[in-house]
């Protein structure tokens, strides 16, 4: 493990200019004819104990980023600095053996618990798998650890010998949570962990994740395709479109003062829960363009209602707002536009007093 100079000293995870271009092969000789630019120059930091939401339509590259962080994929280029007690190492460039100790610190929670649990394994063995892989504890210790975990995620130790098909969807995702936490990771990549679940159990699983985070001091990167889910759980939100970040901001600001047209469009697609003045709403039409040939200039220009000529030729960099360095936006017109919020700060204050 070679320590790397970290730029962002406080971050547990720092990603710089990450790219993953999947080659498309064709023909008998399997020549590469094009690339799917699933992630195309993404930089961000994650700080210990926080939850960062990663939001964007399906196909924008969120899962790919998550899989690069847990190194299911090797990035094409870029830097993924992860801080351990021994210093910072660049996960993007470690080999299999060097990665092994770091894999204990980063785990992934998958979208669909039906496919993330092996139907031929007992629940207890599924949860114990990461412990077994890293040879942690004796078989007895592992067993009692798993039983503790089962209780902890609200399943009960008697589930140890069950098979996944014997559980409900919500229970299965709890097993997924228990497996992700069994080796005590510090960072968990949650890839749309509730979007495959019934609405009635989504909140239960989100609550469980929030409780566990508080209790265990976990850091989450929480992926969702819908801002309404991350509103609840995230401290900060990163809005992603076609392999690039469009806006990163504290959750509250995303809802109260969106600074990017794509963020506004995503907000408009959430059904409104508060009473108040409805402005003319802009709704996204069409599909996300192909990441093989992304649009020139600003990748969002083909669907942006504010697009101007410059948007078609020049790619706007992700820049902090001059008056608000917590928010970064990639838009040429960031200073000129006045975008409609999901709710105003007064509405929000009203909601909070209602809740209290």
């Amino acid at each position: 493990m070679t320590p790397v100079e970290a730029v962002d000293a406080g971050a547990i995870l720092e990603i710089r200019d990450l790219r993953l271009h999947f080659p498309i092969k064709a023909g008998l000789l399997k020549k590469t004819v094009a690339y799917v630019k699933a992630v195309d120059g993404v930089s961000f930091s994650v700080y210990p104990g926080e939850t960062v939401g990663l939001v964007g339509e399906s196909g924008s590259g969120k899962t790919t980023i998550g899989r690069c962080i847990v190194r299911l994929y090797k990035p094409t280029t870029g830097y993924i600095g992860f801080r351990t007690s021994e210093g910072v190492s660049d996960i993007a460039n470690l080999d299999k053996r060097e990665l092994q100790p770091i894999r204990r610190d980063i785990q992934m929670l998958f979208q669909d618990p039906n496919s993330s649990l092996n139907a031929r394994m007992r629940v207890g063995d599924i949860i114990a798998e990461p412990l077994e892989i890293h040879a942690i504890g004796t078989a007895d210790e592992r067993r009692s650890r798993v039983e503790d975990l089962l209780e902890h995620v609200g399943l009960g130790a008697e589930m140890y010998n069950r098979y996944p098909h014997q559980l409900s969807g919500g229970q299965r995702q709890r097993v997924g949570v228990a497996r992700a936490l069994s080796i005590e990771p510090r960072l968990v990549i949650c890839d749309e962990p509730v979007s495959a679940l019934d609405v009635s159990v989504q909140a239960q699983v989100l609550n469980l994740l929030a409780d566990l985070q508080e209790e265990l001091g976990l850091t989450y990167v929480f992926i969702a395709h819908d801002l309404s889910v991350v509103e609840y759980i995230s401290d900060r939100v990163m809005v992603m479109y076609l392999g690039k970040l469009m806006e990163t901001a504290p959750t509250r600001k995303i809802f109260e003062r969106p600074a990017h047209p794509y963020t506004e469009a995503l907000l408009n697609s959430i059904p409104k829960r508060v009473r108040g003045g409805h402005r003319k709403r802009f709704v996204l039409t069409g599909d996300i363009p192909s990441p093989v040939n992304p649009p020139s200039g600003c990748v969002f220009h083909t669907r942006c209602q504010y697009a101007k000529d410059i948007c078609k030729t020049e790619s706007p960099p992700l820049m902090p707002l001059p008056d608000d360095p917590d928010t970064s936006v990639a838009c040429h017109l960031v200073d000129e536009l006045s975008l409609s919020p999901y709710y105003t700060s007064e509405e929000r204050a009203g909601m909070e007093t209602n809740r209290a």
């Binding site: 785990q107 599924i126 990461p130 892989i133 210790e141 650890r145 209780e151 399943l155 009960g156």
Partner: protein, 385 residues
């Protein structure tokens, strides 16, 4: 470093909102129980399974179940037709313990054929657990008791007739089953071993290895099956001892079958390795060996068993075809195909139709294996109701 010590404190006994799932019967059964239940529901498969178990037991203990050995000849009773075991005297109508009338051959002076008539004066009782020709049970235990047989060693009982040298066809069919049925099993074992290893490697690693393997498989499969078998079987040196020829035939038959299984396994691996539970294991740092052992094999095993079961009858037919054509196992070994070779001439089928009996056994075994394979296929997906 053991993190467990620090870790346990974090997980107190605090219970979270326990969810009570719906629990119908389906949810209470384990995977294995679900599979067994599905299999038992398929009557034909169950029946075929029982039939195959019986056939295999009979051939395994051939010495006991066969009244004679495979080579025991009686020159006075060549091509004798099947003899009837009777309980009733056809003349008097009286009932007796099982008996038969011996056959006496008479030359028909017009056709010069030997014609057999029952000698009604002599009633020979059929005896169970009769002492007869010595044999070695399971190839090791010397014994001479047979399940049934003629009580008079001088008067032979051929319930399925006899062949050109007067050897008991029924006994030869039982001994022949040892070869025909075991060729199926051994051929398929080789198929499983080669096919699943190569299929797993090419599915998991892909790349150049996979490319080469796929081209080789396509080449092998571009030949029609039977002519390729014949060509390969013909390449087995004639001076080899019969046991080697037998092994050679097994290898020849497996040579084509492994390609089908290997493709199936490759397809399974390609799909399984993209399942999230495999990704979860990889993200936790599982070795390839562990993923194959814990995730791929358990999820492929039942598919492999089904494919293998359905490959057994193909192998049995292959052996029969080769032996029937005289390029399979060689005498003094006996197999069903080799026995059927007696019926190769059309006049033999007309004059001695019982020489077709081995074909009936081939048919029964092949059909039973196919039903069994179908039943197992249903079982493979225990979660579909």
């Amino acid at each position: 470093m053991n993190r467990l010590t620090g870790g346990f404190g974090l997980f107190g006994a605090r219970k979270k909102n326990v969810e009570l799932g719906v629990q119908d019967e389906y949810q209470l059964l384990t995977v294995r129980q679900l599979m067994i239940r599905k299999f038992l529901r398929n009557r034909m498969a169950l029946l075929s399974f029982i039939a195959l178990v019986i056939i295999y037991l009979v051939t395994l203990f051939a010495g006991f179940f066969a009244p004679y050995t495979a080579r025991d000849a009686d020159s006075k009773l060549t091509y004798s037709p099947p003899m009837t075991i009777r309980l009733q005297d056809p003349e008097t109508g009286h009932f007796h313990p099982p008996f038969f009338y011996p056959l006496r051959g008479k030359r028909n002076m017009e056709t010069f054929q030997l014609e057999y008539v029952e000698e009604r004066e002599k009633r020979i009782p059929v005896q169970f657990f009769v002492k007869g020709e010595p044999y070695k049970a399971l190839g090791i235990i010397a014994w001479d008791v047979h399940l049934f047989g003629s009580s008079d060693p001088a008067e032979r009982l051929h319930i399925m007739g006899s062949d050109v040298r007067g050897r008991d066809l029924f006994s030869r069919i039982i001994y022949g089953g040892q070869v025909s049925l075991s060729v199926g099993i051994f051929g398929v074992l080789i198929t499983i071993a080669v096919g699943s290893v190569i299929g797993t490697l090419s599915g998991y690693y892909g790349g150049v290895f996979d490319n080469v393997v796929q081209r080789v498989i396509e080449t092998i499969r571009s030949f029609p099956q039977l002519p390729l078998w014949m060509a390969l079987a013909a390449a087995i040196p004639p001076q080899w001892p019969p046991e080697w020829v037998y092994a050679g035939i097994v290898v020849v038959l497996a040579f084509i079958n492994w390609t089908g299984l290997s493709r199936e396994v490759r397809g399974l691996v390609l799909s399984l390795k993209e399942r999230d539970y495999v990704h979860a294991a990889e993200a936790s740092g599982a070795s390839t060996a562990r993923i194959v052992r814990k995730h791929l094999i358990p999820n492929m095993a039942s598919h492999i068993i089904v494919t293998a079961t359905l490959a057994v009858p193909v192998t049995i037919l292959g052996e029969s075809a080769l032996s029937f054509l005289g390029i399979g196992v060689r005498p003094p070994m006996v197999s069903w195909g080799l026995l059927l070779n007696d019926a190769i001439k059309i006049q033999n089928i007309v004059l001695y139709p019982w020489t077709l009996f081995p074909g009936a056994f081939i048919l029964v075994a092949v059909i039973a294996y196919n039903f069994l394979g179908d039943g197992l296929r249903d079982m493979v997906d225990p979660f579909s109701r």
